[in-house]
Homo-oligomer: 235 residues x 2
Amino acid sequence: MAYALWYWPSIPGRGEFVRLALEAAGVAYRDMAREQGAEALVRDLEARSGIRPFAPPYLVDGDFAIAQVAHILAWLADRHGFGAGQLERDLELITLQLTISDMVAEVHAVHHPISAALYYEDQKDAARKAAEHFRSERMPKFLGYFEDALGANEGPFVLGHKWSHVDTSLFQLVEGLRYMFPQRMEALERGHPRLLVCHEAVGKLDGIAAYRASDRCIPFNEDGIFRHYPELDGS
Amino acid sequence: MAYALWYWPSIPGRGEFVRLALEAAGVAYRDMAREQGAEALVRDLEARSGIRPFAPPYLVDGDFAIAQVAHILAWLADRHGFGAGQLERDLELITLQLTISDMVAEVHAVHHPISAALYYEDQKDAARKAAEHFRSERMPKFLGYFEDALGANEGPFVLGHKWSHVDTSLFQLVEGLRYMFPQRMEALERGHPRLLVCHEAVGKLDGIAAYRASDRCIPFNEDGIFRHYPELDGS
């Protein structure tokens, strides 16, 4: 039976990190809220009891639901063979994937530094200051870290010639950062050649190329995690 | 051989979530930066190459280093028997532990909404607004979520009568929130009876009681994750 993926239907958001791995691996899934709407997602989440997902995305397999992007991906990697297949290497991949999640959370906090419950327009001054620090300190630190990780093996992927869930997530991270900070990324990319090689190689995977040419893949927009507000960018 | 735990020596911080599980389980570890200082931590981290920890805390076992609190705890739980011992239940515990990590990150962002690289004093206005939203929206949402999770079994712990890494982390979360938001927690606690029962039961575990009576356990302070700034509290 196909997995049921539940995530907000109108943005790529955190759900896209799960989608990309499923698409790259050719694993069947139904994108439930794209079929049934956001209200169905809220109903499904609220109907769950006990130990349930705190927030989307979550993936359902029969009676079992699993949440948190890095956790979903580690579980899928084990089931579908897009991890390392060796314990310590798999644990290292999870460390990387969790660090990608941390960066994604910081990306969201750039445009919503005071509260996710307020509009961007109501926290624009704080966002501008947050963006300055994020661009100058956090982007080089995180991207340098991922660049080093890609140096652990002879690329194009983190594990070498076999793609893993970390590579599809790094692809999406680069896509999102290019959308949100085009000027800053143009300045930073030249210093991160392995990341660019990885990004290109992921884009050429059959499953990813087919997905991105389909209408299942929706563009970034200003309701999502990665938002292009020109006033938050700068080289 | 004892594990080597690396974390900033002068705060409980994120390291405390790892310490508490190790102490409750009676697993031997050396608290490296408490022995050798913060400079030794920076040197150790910088000397690591390839796929390495992004930030402390990390735990070293021989040649292998693992980072990210929830990830360290899931790995330790598997090795030392303080998980569920059944795959789907263990995955649920990890979902909970990752959600605790998310709340801890939000707690830090309350007093550092613009940038972790700026002083609190330089982002006090934004912090005050962030704290209002955190107290009114995020605290009830997160604590209600953990309260529900504790209802999945007949307490006092998430798994029922066996403690797990999630319980020791919930203990520390309650401790930290009481320190940071005493007024708000006083108002909220009565509505979360299972969380209080869990907190009390963890405090009575032999390993935890002994640890907390020792000088290995240091108090919260205003360099850490949980900081008491009276202007950020309110009922």
